[in-house]
Amino acid sequence: MNDKQQKLTSVAELEKKRQGLNKQRSSDAPMIAVCCGTGCQAYGGKKIADAFKEEIEKHGLGGKVEVKTTGCHGFCERGLLVVIRPQNYFYQRVRLEDVPEIVSETVIGGKPIERLLYESLATGEKIASEEEVPFYKKQVRLVFGDNGYIDPYEIDDYIAVGGYSAFSKVLSGMTPEQVIDEVRKAGLRGRGGGGFPADIKWQSSREAHGEPKYIICNCDEGDPGAFMDRSLMEGNPHAILEGMMIGAYAVGSSIAYIYIRNEYPLAVKNAYRAIQQAKDYGLLGKNILGSGFDLEIKINRGGGAFVCGESTALMASIEGKVGEPRPKYIHTSHKGLYNKPTVLNNVETWANVPLIINKGADWYSKIGTENSKGTKIFSLVGKINHTGLVEVPMGITLREIVYEIGGGIPGDKKFKAVQTGGPSGGCIPENLLDLPVDFDELTNAGSMMGSGAMIVMDEENCMVDIARYFLEFLEDESCGKCVPCREGLRRMREILDDITQGRGEESHLEMLEEMSEVINDGALCGLGQTAPNPVMTTLKYFRDEYKAHIQDKKCPAGVCKSLITYHIIEEKCTGCKLCVNACSYGAIEFMGKKTPVVLHQSECTKCGACKEVCKLKAIEIR
């Protein structure tokens, strides 16, 4: 795509362009898809892709085998990922050295390389094809799937896989009302946290008085555990642009913003590039595809505070003001950005829109549960074998996500809880693992869909410490405007400090409950209102752990340093001296060969180094 693209001036020209592209491309042509998402870039990314290109040239296959640099495939933990198409051989942990062999053995020889294949955790069997890898098998990658097939840098790639066909369908034959109606029938709910029906916002903004109307895409993604918005923006920016175009058409807006956090340089870069390409193609600008519809999309870089993702704070930030929330008793769909009607949706919400228009509300609404339709992308992290981004149909159970897609808990540890929804989500215990995951079920369990982060915890996580950790994060991120959040969270954290450091009192639990309730009811914005969730859910589901800290001054998970001591199990210790050498504080004394060592509590800082190195499991926490 070196020569400048002529502007497309009609829907027919766009379709002709697509046909032209597809004539040149065949779906069973050999392709090496190299993941260059932020995760895989750490292992070489583009460098490995270049090595593939060189190798291909060396074998005289230039022009016959395509090397595609793609966005994130989701299974970041196994990076760098390479998929050889059309067979879809899935190679993980690929390094530069593997390149020549992959080309000669697989691309030319057609045979998979055992060493690079995924190995089943249960059976040890090697799995060759992408679709059969358990991590992917239960996923339904409607929104995220194209990431593995297209180069986010090439608009032609997106067009070739059907991109912008929903937009052309809308422009050539749907009224704004029909578009909103389709979104309503599909049951699309916001993926950025609250699960608010998208069509209601759109309709309300469409009907509101005031010009211009604004469309905003929220790519702030302040939750440190979530990265699906980043991966979508990096890997398939045109899908998001297309969703926004359709939304703008439906609402009657001609100015749109993408609010991206500054810490996402690749996402910013790809979004800029995608917008430029769409302009060059005449998909943005004036009189788009000859329809009379105009749209401009601008990028705004967020400053990084978590609270800037909140709708009113985000709008203040775009206006150049301090990013602080304000009361929104008049909906932003009526008075939002610059006091004008504004529709704000999350990245993933926008990316769902083309799908709905293309395949229809009937098709879309068959996926998911009664009140939560479609799929949701989660970032699965924590004490779990397979970490990464997973896209699953709404209604899948937590158990399926944790044990089938996630491959269960590493080591022979026991599952304890999964926290959903980001720092202010709730912790869901084992007996609720069969909970179908959707907006309402998670809320009923005291948690939320939130950002879509899922953090898995095992028996070695102390739930009181976890609650304290999240509260501290939110205390740091509180903007400080309103009293319940600014003062209340700090005081709750102080109480949790007391409990985890052995100063807990019986009355603390009631106090925490009382404060949770008040902050939930009284805080100004969603940050404060939801901040008590981790405390409330752990109090509800793991009360015994709190009691152990308070009454017995013990931390059952062995985490809270003030409440634990390390001990040598004499029957198991052979005096091998490993721990003696590992202890930087000289707390363990060597008593002679085949004699158990002695641990001096007064010297011990409870760093845990001894337990780490002991091969005989002769050190325990009490």
Binding site: R326, P327, S478, K481, V483, P484, R486, E514, D521, G522
Partner: protein, 241 residues
């Protein structure tokens, strides 16, 4: 005009009026700490929260920002809002243990002690932002602003010592509900002390009687804003013809 119910009583109010203002006009008292008629509603202290039922939906909102609407039912004394007010004031009592104003408000709300460990910094600022809002919205300056986030937040001059934009008018001092900002005029100098910074300003002596009556910078600002010659403003109120 719109008609709605507040604590069971039917009242009328002007469209666009806040629930708080309508309540006040009808002698229904709602406690507040961050409201002042000269600046826009802000919604930070949360003392003024009330329950509002609109159709089937019941919400707890800040009455200082929520506008009246036809047919709504307002409860200014529900169990929930009383709980919020008491917790808020208990938290502020711990933040500003020495503030007489906070202690009085707490008493009014039936709170006499706090279960939290009182702060020891002697800072009476509750971060209601009345000072920074008055500076911006009333004076038209941004001499002081809220800096830092969360528990670190404070009202201060830029970098704690850049008073270029400050005209020493003292509006922030007058509007502060807890006396956290102090001002003293002595020997031709005005000293304003905000919680974490302080600055001295020259006062102007009246060209007639010689009394130091106003900050020089304020007079210069007034001259520039009004177009009146500076000399004409350099006469104190009592000496003005």
């Amino acid at each position: 005009m719109v008609t709605f119910k507040i604590d069971g009583k039917e009242i009328k109010a002007k469209e666009g009026q806040t629930v708080l203002d309508a309540a006040t006009e009808n002698n229904i008292e709602i406690p507040t700490l961050c409201v002042n008629e000269s600046v826009l509603p802000y919604g930070a202290c949360r003392l003024c929260m009330v329950d509002v039922t609109k159709g089937k939906r019941k919400r707890t909102v800040t009455s200082c920002a929520y506008e009246v609407a036809e047919g709504i039912e307002v409860d200014t004394k529900s169990e929930k809002v009383i709980k919020i007010r008491r917790m808020v004031i208990e938290l502020l009592l711990a933040r500003c243990p020495e503030s007489e104003e906070i202690r009085q408000m707490a008493e009014k709300l039936g709170v006499t002690t706090t279960r939290f460990k009182p702060d020891e910094d002697g800072d009476a600022c509750i971060l209601c932002a009345l000072c920074t809002r008055a500076c911006r919205e009333v004076v038209g300056k941004s001499a002081i602003s809220l800096i830092n986030r969360g528990t670190e937040r404070e009202a201060a001059l830029p970098f704690y010592d850049e008073a270029d934009d400050c005209i020493a008018c003292g509006s922030c001092v007058y509007i502060c509900p807890t006396g956290a900002i102090k001002m003293e005029d002595k020997a031709g100098t005005r000293t304003i002390s905000w919680p974490n910074c302080s600055q001295e300003f020259k006062l102007k002596a009246c060209s007639a009687c010689g009394f130091y009556f106003a900050p020089e910078k304020q007079l210069e600002f007034m001259a520039a804003e009004s177009g009146v010659e500076l000399e004409k403003l350099e006469i104190c109120m009592s000496c003005r013809p």
